[in-house]
Structure formats: C-alpha cells, structure tokens
C-alpha cells in the first residue's frame, strides 16, 4: 500500500515537472535514496527476506559514511604533489613521493562512494565491509538470502560477496595448455578475466557498478558522470589527467543514471547515454581508471597486509597453540587442504622422502592455487535469486527461470551464458563441460575475520559471534560445517535429497548432506577424509590464525555498529557450530529441470544436467 502512495506521488511530480524533464521517453526519477528505496520489489514468499533488512542496510550505509569521511580526511592530509618537469599537455604528472598513497586513497574513496548507484544508495562496500574480511556485512542476509540487495530493493544477485583481501594477486585468467587447467581471474566464476586491463581485480571492480542486481547503472558512462560530480574529482584528475573527466554529458544523463539498469525503458540498450565517439572513449577510460584505482587500494596494506597470527608465526613472533599447530599439520596432512589452498610449504623431509619443492616465489603464501573446483555444494533454496521471476517496477526480471536455474559457475561463463559475462576467448568455449560446477578456489586468508566485538564466526562457543556465509552459495554457515563438509560429504551422510528434506533421524549439515547441485566434475580430493570431530575443530583453529589484524590493527575494522549474535544451547538446539543456521533451513520446492537456457547451451554439460 505504501509503495502505491509513493508511486502516486511520483506520478504527480511527473505531471508537474514533465514539460521540463521528460526527454526521450525516460521517466523522471528522483535520485534521492529515500524515494528510490520506497519503490519496493518484493517477489519473495513470507519469511525469505530477513525482517531487519531495511534497518541493516541503513546501518551499513552509516558505516560507509564513516569510512568515506576518514578517506576524505586521508586525502586532504596527503602532501601536495611534487610536480616534475614534463612535456606540455594534459598528461598527468608523476607524483613523486605521494603517488602510491594518492591512488590508494582514490580507490578507497571510490569503493565507499554510495553515489555510484542510480539511487545513490549503494557503494561497493554495501556488500563488502572491512570488518568482515571485505565480505558480507549483514549477518541476517548471510543467514538467509545470501546475496545482497542492490540499488533496487530488493533485487539481489545469486552468490555470496567475496572477500577483497588478496584478490589482486590472482593472475590474468589463462588456460594452461600443459596442465589442461584454468588459472586466474576474479569473481566466483572467473569472468573478470583481466584480458583488457591485464588485471582481474581491476576488471572485477568494473562489474558491480553496471550489474543490474547490484549497484545497477544502466551505462558504464554513468561511472564517469558520477565521478565528475564527486567531491574527490580533483584527486582523480590529479592522478589520471586534468582533462580526464571533461566530458559534455547530455542534459538527460542525470535521469538516465538515476534509472537502474535492465529497466524496460532502455529496450536492452547498454549505452543509453548519447555521447560523441571521442567522449564515449573518455568515459570508457574513466571507467578503466575506476577499476585500476580500486585495485590499487585492494593491493595496499589497507586491505591485503599479511598481518595474521600465521604470518607472525612464520617470523617467529607468535607461538601457535597446540590446537592451531595440530590444525596446521592436518591442513597439510590428513585434511589435504593445501593441495588446493597452497600454503607455500616446503616439504618436511622424512628419511627417504623425495624433495619435490619447486621454484620459489617472493610473497607469503596466499592459500590458493588460483584455480577452480566443484566441491559439490547442495542447491541453497534460501538464495534470493530463485524468487525473482516477476518484473519489478522498472519491468526488469532478475531470473525468469526460477528454480530452473542451476549455477554451473565457470561453465556458464565460458558459454557467455545467463547471469555471467561474455567470454572474451572463443578458444575456451570448448572447455565449458570440463568446468561445469567449478568455482574459484578462494584464498583461505580472512575466512574467519569478524568485527572485533564479535570475535568468532561460530555459534555456541560462549562468545558473541558474527554470522558469515561460506562458499559461492552460502549454504555453509560456519567454519566447523565447512570442514565437516569437506570431511564427510561423500560418506554415509550423503542422501539423495534436496536441502530441507533430510530423512528423519538425521540432521542436515551434521549427519545429512543433500545432493550436489551440479554433480559434474566433482572434485574428490576431499569428501571422505576420516577426520575426527577434534581434528575438524583443530583445522578450524588453524583457519582462525589466518585472520589479518594480529600484528597491526586492521584498518576500519572498528566500524561495525551492528549487534553480535548470541545464543543459548540450553534453549536452542541449533546453538552450536555444527548446527548453526539450521533454524533457517527451508524445504527446497520440487525442482523443475534445468532450464535449456542454462543447461542446453552448446557445448552442453556432459553428462546432461537434469
């Protein structure tokens, strides 16, 4: 009812101001967040959205404002640039001394800029806050819909928000002919390949601003447009050239950039802003500089700083506890974690053992092989994406396939498929069946990072905890469950059921693992490890040593203003790391076959996916 009143108000505004502002068929749209936020898209059945979603989104926006203000102060504290003699012209000066910090600060200012959305209501960090290892900052979202609402409330994507830390270290996506494997890229499905900017992390930063379900601009030129208006425009121009934002945007650009991408009014046109060719090129350059600047920040010690207990232990400045050390040895031994989450470990030579060490690198271990794998996660029916089957106020439908969608990960990307991105390399298309179901082997670093006042991710330990979400679809809700999944996925705990339908007498995520969403290309490096309950706990203890902020305070980790969670095991049977989140389980509806637009695209999955 409320949204109907707001809509009437808009129509009235339109009538009053229509003669002046209606242009080219676009609706007048106020870009004030208050009004934008009130045209609600809610196709979800009762109980899907967390009840505190609006207040939590508002909380995160307030926290973003705090960090943005700190970044602005940092900018103003930078020393004046030392200009060196250069040839005449608009070429940016070489910033001797202050250049590195300047570009890192620019990246920070961009990352926390909520004006980078049509509704001026969403920044990159709405989904990636520092106190959560730069992953999802809303515990109730992590526990339920797993994907974060975008500029349009409540459109949402389909996957968890990945950690920014150490993402810049991934190489450009390549297919290694010798190994027959892909390495590199960013995003869960590696679609930020880095083929243009030669940097996947920079290309990842370009994605969300024009993702219909995320920050949601309808045109990449909107990034340049809003940069033109930003308070930090002088810093951008200092780094990228004093004419780098001198673009004569047409009069209707504000209206266009205040309308979310995917709106029917655009008719599928990805460049509704009419620019001259040279101005379109300038806008594209600004969009590229956006990505590069954010990458500079994410590479910096503000984000990726190797300050964990593990790093300290390597230098002899921290003594691991018995459990942490036992977990480290299991990580490399019986747990076999480091076969994919490479820890740079040298062989502990045993008598007669062959040294198979290979060439050294210079960086501390990143705990990833930069590859992808299918770990066989069950379909998560809580995922908001499945419910976006009806048009929103702008005529956009997020997922017309509903539960007929299956997340094939990298396989969909190589097919340039629905919900992914164009594959820039035709030679890779043939490999799609080989990578169906595969997702990035994420770095393990900061998997356990939480706000300081909520010192753990695990429920029922006696400490306040911060609910996180794990793997690409957020099905796993604690580190204990994560290790237990790797340990027991392919044991007698495996059942031919979907989530929410575990047999009586079993407990989902404890003694019952539902079927794999995508059974193809399942990696069995793990799945039946034979770890005891104690050994699982020890691996969790080791994972917790990989959290930055031990040797030096982690920047902006103090900005969480929400509530930590607590629970009472005496009254809540799910108050334990093993059963954490089970109170939010819902039965998966009967699944239709995988939509042809997903599973019927050549080269089709082999075997076929039902």
């Amino acid at each position: 009812m409320r949204s109907k009143s707001v809509l009437r108000l808009f129509i009235a505004s339109l009538i009053v101001l229509g003669a002046l502002f209606i242009s080219g068929g676009f609706l007048l749209w106020s870009s004030t967040p208050q009004i934008f936020n009130q045209l609600i898209y809610n196709p979800y059945p009762p109980g899907i959205l967390p009840p505190n979603l609006n207040s939590e989104i508002a909380r995160v926006l307030r926290e973003i404002d705090v960090v943005e203000a700190r970044a602005i102060a940092r900018w103003h504290s930078l020393p004046p640039p030392t200009r060196l003699p250069m040839r005449p012209g608009p070429n940016p000066p070489v910033l001797q001394g202050s250049g590195t910090e300047s570009i890192e600060t620019l990246g920070e200012l961009m990352l926390f800029d909520k004006n980078m959305s049509p509704g001026r209501n969403q920044a990159c960090t709405s989904c990636h806050m520092p106190y959560a290892g730069w992953s999802g900052p809303i515990p109730s979202v992590n526990a339920t819909i797993i994907a974060y609402p975008g500029t349009v409330h409540f459109r949402a994507g389909k996957r968890t928000a990945q950690r920014h830390t150490y993402a810049p270290f991934f190489p450009v996506l390549q297919f290694n002919q010798e190994q027959g494997l892909f390495f590199g890229g960013n995003f869960w499905d590696s679609r930020a390949t880095g083929y243009r900017l030669r940097n996947p992390d920079a290309e990842q930063a370009q994605g969300p601003p024009v993702d219909t379900q995320e920050m949601g601009f309808p045109d990449t030129a909107c990034v340049a447009f809003r940069l033109q208006q930003s308070v930090y425009r002088p810093l951008f121009e200092l780094l990228w050239g004093k004419d780098s934002l001198n673009i004569n945007f047409p009069a209707n650009t504000e209206v266009i950039c205040a309308t979310p991408g995917g709106a029917a009014v655009f008719g599928g046109n990805p460049e509704p802003i009419k620019l001259k060719p040279e101005e379109r090129t300038e806008a594209q350059s600004a969009y590229d500089h956006w990505g590069s600047s954010i990458d500079a920040y994410e590479q910096s010690v503000q984000v990726s700083n190797f300050t964990s207990k593990f790093d300290a232990a390597l230098k002899g400045n921290y003594k691991m506890t018995a459990d942490e050390m036992a977990g480290f040895n299991l990580f490399n031994g019986k747990g076999n974690c480091n076969s994919c989450h490479v820890d740079g470990r040298g062989t502990t030579l045993q008598p007669g053992q062959k040294d198979t060490s290979t060439t050294a690198t210079a960086n501390p271990p990143l705990f990833t092989c930069f590859g992808s794998a299918n770990e066989g996660l069950p379909l998560n029916p809580r995922n908001a994406f499945y419910y976006q089957t009806t048009p929103d106020s702008f005529g956009f439908i997020g997922n017309p396939f509903g539960f007929g969608y299956r997340d094939l990960g990298m396989g969909t990307f190589l097919r340039s498929g629905f919900g992914s991105a164009p594959n820039p390399n035709q030679n890779w298309i043939q490999f799609a069946p080989m990578v169906d179901g595969q997702f990035q082997v994420a770095t393990v670093r900061n998997v356990a990072m939480t706000p300081p006042q909520c010192p753990t991710t695990e429920a029922g330990t006696g400490k306040p905890y911060f609910q996180k979400e794990f793997f690409h679809n957020g099905y796993i809700k604690s580190l204990k469950q994560l290790v237990h999944f790797y340990n027991t996925r392919d044991t007698s705990f495996a059942y031919p059921v979907t989530s929410g339908h575990c047999p009586p007498g079993t407990i989902e995520r404890v003694t019952c693992w539902p079927m794999k969403e995508v059974p193809n290309n399942l990696d069995t490096t793990t799945g039946m490890l034979g770890l005891s309950d104690t050994e699982e706990n020890q691996i969790v203890a080791f994972l917790e040593t990989l959290t930055d902020g031990f040797t030096a305070p982690y920047p902006n980790s103090d900005t969480f203003t929400g509530q930590c969670a607590t629970c009472d095991p005496a009254t809540d049977p799910n108050c334990s790391p093993s059963r954490q989140g089970n109170g939010e389980l819902i039965p998966t509806p009967p699944l239709p076959p995988c939509a042809p637009a997903i599973c019927g695209v050549s080269p089709t999955p082999s075997p076929a996916i039902q």
Binding site: A313, T359, L522, D523, M528
Partner: protein, 133 residues
C-alpha cells in the same frame, strides 16, 4: 617452534617458497597401488571406490577412473572424479563416486588413473567386486 613451521618460515624468509600455483612435479618412475581398491561405502545412492598409489607426480590434477559392470567380462560403464595431487605427500588417494546403483547388486570393477591431459599413470588394478546394500 614446530619443525614444520620452522622449515616453512626458513624457506619463506630465504626466498625459497614454492610456486603459488599447484606445481608440476617430477613424475614417479613407477606408480603402484599400495592400498585397495576398496569400497568404504556401497550404498544405493552413493558408492565410493577408493585406492591409494604412490604419488604419481606430474600435472597437479589427476582423474581416478572406475570401469564397472555386473559382468566381470564386460565392464562397460565408467565413472571418474578429479583430485588435486598434493606434492608434499608421498602417496595419493583416489576416490570415485558412483550414484544410484540398484540395491543388492553385485558389481565388478577395475581402477586406473590419468592426468588432466589424459596420460595414464600406468597402473590398472585387477578385477574386484562389491555388492550394494
């Protein structure tokens, strides 16, 4: 400090870290099955066949392959799963999952393994058998 951690820290501080990507390691001169193959789970929904070999080395991803059937002379069905070698382990465990086998049925099978570009590790087991629950 634990010896393992000490070894790692010395290698890091001396610049002798291993490559970040999964490394290619020297291939074993000969691959032999040291344990199994065995069937730790013979369910109707999920059957797991497992065997252990000395680390074959070479490319980091290998595939375990099971050839199976109800006739020991006709093992016409195939299942395979990938594993990522751990270059720090002297042995490698392969596991292959078979799904939805009819209950109370006797199957015959052999196992073998190949690397990610199809080169065999050079060992195939003899014919074994299991019966589903």
């Amino acid at each position: 400090m634990n010896k393992a951690l000490l070894a790692l820290s010395i290698m890091i501080l001396s610049g002798s870290l291993l490559a970040q990507e999964s490394p290619i390691t020297p291939r074993a001169e000969r691959v032999q099955i040291s344990e199994g193959p065995e069937v730790p789970l013979a369910g109707g929904y999920l059957t797991v066949i497992r065997w252990t070999v000395n680390n074959p080395g070479g490319l980091p991803v290998h595939y375990g392959i099971v050839h199976y059937g109800t006739d020991p002379k006709n093992l016409g069905q195939t299942a395979k799963n990938s594993i990522r070698l751990n270059p720090y382990h002297s042995s490698t465990v392969f596991r292959v999952n078979l799904y939805d086998l009819p209950s109370k049925t006797t199957y015959y099978y052999t196992v073998e393994s190949i690397d990610s570009i199809g080169k065999s590790d050079g060992v195939t087991s003899e014919v074994n058998t299991f019966t589903t629950q």
